[in-house]
């Protein structure tokens, strides 16, 4: 089973190493990890997608909590949530194929962000399923390069996990 955790951490040097080190030494698998500052510059938010059964997930959460720099952990998968990933794909595109690829981009509400002599670079955001479908649609043209950000996620509705670590209803 895969779970998505939103982890608020102190924006201290080494905090990523602490979290990553914890996962590797306790044998937990990270599927995806995205980190960035929140609206509070002293706090960063990590979105971690972790693979494992309930017991593993419980241990992951408890062990993360033991890190002094970890402020709060929310399992967003336990509730309704929105998740997004961003992908940049550089795909082979002979001049005659460009309009075809542009149509695919439109279907996925992706955007062409750069143009080379024989390539197009596309940007797409969406959940994992959409990103996968987008990638598969472009594969026949020849993917030259692909980079994705890792998943970020947020609870739906008026509940939020603020940069000060407080949860509000």
């Amino acid at each position: 089973m895969r779970r998505t955790l939103a982890v608020l951490v102190e924006n201290n040097p080494g905090v990523l190493a602490r979290v990553a080190g914890l996962f590797s030494r306790r044998g937990f698998n990270i599927d995806s990890l995205a980190v960035g500052r929140t609206d509070n510059p002293a706090v960063s938010r990590m979105t971690i997608v972790v693979e494992g059964d309930d017991r593993t997930l419980e241990q992951v959460t408890k062990q993360l909590h033991k890190l002094i720099d970890v402020i709060k952990i929310t399992d967003v998968t336990a509730e309704e949530y929105v998740d997004r990933e961003l992908v940049l794909i550089k795909v082979s595109a002979e001049p005659g194929q460009r309009s075809e690829i542009a149509q695919i981009a439109e279907i996925f509400r992706a955007r062409i962000v750069d143009l080379g002599r024989r390539t197009l670079t596309l940007e797409c955001t969406g959940n994992e399923g959409k990103i996968r479908a987008f990638e598969e649609s472009l594969r026949p043209y020849g993917i030259k390069e692909l980079v994705r950000t890792g998943k970020i996620a947020m609870l739906r509705g008026s509940r939020y996990t603020g940069g000060n670590g407080k949860e509000e209803e």
């Binding site: 080494g14 190493a17 080190g21 408890k62 002094i68």
Partner: protein
């Protein structure tokens, strides 16, 4: 007035009421030593940094206070690593100060540079690299708070040389904010009620008490619980000394080398009350046959320990002393004649025993030490067979009287830890029981014993080999003994004399009777080299992959 960050560090340590620092200086930490010159804090100069970490650890275990040690950058810091890991595994509060190269040189592979915060990340509760001298007082305050609160553990502060030399306006913060760190001390009332109900319903309860009892100072509550509900008590190795060793409800230690009656009581019980213990693999043996009939109540301050290895029926996160204080009023006095009769039967059927033939037996040495000290000594040990015999045959009376490396099993821990314990408890009888293998791993600290004028009594159970490994090779490798026999044996009694302490050798029970009382009553340090029967095994023993009820005599 501005002072240097190094001076501020010393002021912080004084504010934290640090009495003693164990350390060994070097280039990068010279500014801190310079600042210590005018301080009233005692500095104990060790002969190897590993000794500093273990001594601080022994001091902390013996006194319950935070142990402090110090070393320079690079090799000084890496020499502390085993000691830090040892303290981490056994939840011992330490604050470790290391020197570091100048901030401008960090990351350049400078002379004596090592990334000690990176290295110690998995073996500290937390660590800091001080980059801004103004933040030093706050960091030190946090380090002491983190080390000593919640589940205790080591915290390292790495201080670059140029930061130590910078001037700051000193003010020791009165309060600190750690929004990601809020240990739970009080147990959840609903869970405590549920625990009380399970205890009332139980017919055959057993209390399984670990090091958490000692850390939270809950020995009195443990005794009251056992006597109120009429439940026998077994200790983990780390829990030894938390329950009186001569109490009729005491089952001794459980697990790999535990008493058979403790292991069988756990196997037969219908309720297991786990207090400040972590279901370590050395305790449980094969998990599927551990306490198979029991419901389990688990009280621990570290939520990550609850449900980690074993399924728990009633989990209670909290300080075990506070939880027991809340639980005790909910319980009624119970007599359990049938269950206690069964326990007595198990004790009669499967007592700890050894054969007295074949010369001086190590178990006899421990029994004599117990008899002569009446269980009043503080006993430090090293790691190996002698350690298990201490656990089995020395009946501890009061908390913190056993100073030993449990989780990491660090050979070489004993001597420096005994130094720390004796410095923390100046008036008390501190004895070290060690083996010839362990002792040779840190015996340079004999110099520290003499320099500090410590009246430490050292007993080496000398079987001229690495006895525990020999036993493993006998059991698991059909007696193919590989790299366990020492071919060269130093004369430890002469070694003692080289350091200026009394040295003795005993070969039989008669010599024990002549030498031990004199040594224990003497005012100064002494070393007794006990030449014991080399083939003796620690018995009983649970073989790898077996349940604890299947222990064999060996």
């Amino acid at each position: 007035m501005e002072i240097t960050a190094a001076e501020a560090l010393v002021r912080c340590l004084e504010e934290e009421k640090v009495e003693v620092i164990f350390g060994l200086p070097g280039g990068a930490i010279v500014p801190v030593y310079d600042a210590l010159y005018h301080s009233k804090i005692k500095h104990v100069l060790v002969r190897h940094e590993q000794g500093a970490a273990h001594a601080a650890d022994g001091y902390a275990r013996a006194t319950g206070r935070v142990g402090v040690c110090m070393a320079t950058s690079g090799p000084g810091a890496t020499n502390l690593v085993t000691g830090i890991a040892n303290a981490y595994m056994d939840s011992v509060p330490l604050v470790i100060i290391t020197g570091q190269v100048n901030t401008s040189q960090v990351g350049t592979d400078a002379f004596q540079e090592v990334d000690i915060t990176g290295i110690t990340m998995p073996i500290t509760k937390h660590n800091y690299l001080v980059k801004d001298p103004k933040k030093l007082p706050e960091i030190v305050k946090k380090a002491f708070y983190i080390a000593s609160s919640g589940r205790p553990g080591p915290v390292l502060v790495d201080l670059p040389r140029d930061v130590a030399g910078s001037s700051i306006e000193f003010r020791y913060p009165r309060e600190i904010v750690l929004r990601g760190y809020k240990p739970t001390y009080r147990g959840h009332p609903t869970k405590i009620n549920e625990a009380a109900r399970l205890i009332k319903e139980a017919e055959r309860p057993v209390i399984y008490a670990g090091g958490g009892i000692i850390n939270s100072g809950a020995a009195a509550e443990l005794k009251m619980l056992a006597e109120t509900i009429g439940a026998p008590v077994t200790n983990t190795f780390m829990g030894l000394s938390s329950f009186p060793g001569d109490h009729p409800l005491f089952l001794g230690m459980l697990g790999l080398h535990g008493t058979r009656y403790a292991n069988l009581a756990v196997t037969e019980c219908d309720l297991l009350i786990a207090l400040g213990a972590r279901f370590d693999d050395r305790v449980t043996g094969k998990l599927s046959s551990f306490a198979p009939q029991a419901k389990i109540i688990h009280i621990d301050i570290d939520p990550a320990e609850i449900g980690k290895n074993v399924r728990i029926h009633v989990p209670i996160v909290g300080d075990v002393k506070q939880v027991l204080q809340a639980l005790l009023p909910l319980l009624e006095k119970r007599e359990r004649p049938a269950w206690l009769k069964r326990i007595e039967e198990l004790k009669q059927l499967y007592p700890l025993r050894y054969e007295k033939e074949n010369g001086l037996k190590p178990q006899f040495v421990i029994e004599e030490l117990y008899r002569l000290t009446r269980g009043d000594a503080v006993v430090a040990t090293d790691v190996g067979q002698h350690q298990m015999w201490v656990a089995q045959y020395y009946r501890f009376k009061r908390p913190r009287s056993l100073i030993s490396s449990g989780g990491l099993g660090t050979m070489g821990f004993g001597l420096p830890a005994a130094v720390g314990a004796q410095l923390g408890l100046p008036g008390e009888l501190v004895i070290l029981v060690t083996g010839d293998g362990s002792f040779q791993m840190n015996m340079q600290e004999l110099a520290t014993v003499m320099e500090q004028g410590l009246p430490l009594k050292i007993f080496i159970l000398n079987n001229q080999q690495l006895g525990m490994v020999r036993q493993l090779q006998e059991v698991y490798c059909e007696g193919r003994y590989m790299a366990v026999d020492f071919k060269f044996h130093p004369d430890f009694s002469i070694l003692a004399k080289a350091y200026g302490m009394s040295g003795y050798t005993v070969r039989n029970e008669k010599e024990v009777a002549e030498v031990f009382p004199e040594v224990l009553a003497g005012p100064g340090p002494a070393l007794v080299n006990c030449l014991v029967y080399p083939e003796e095994n620690v018995s009983p023993m649970v073989l790898a992959g077996r349940g604890i009820h299947e222990a064999i005599e060996c």
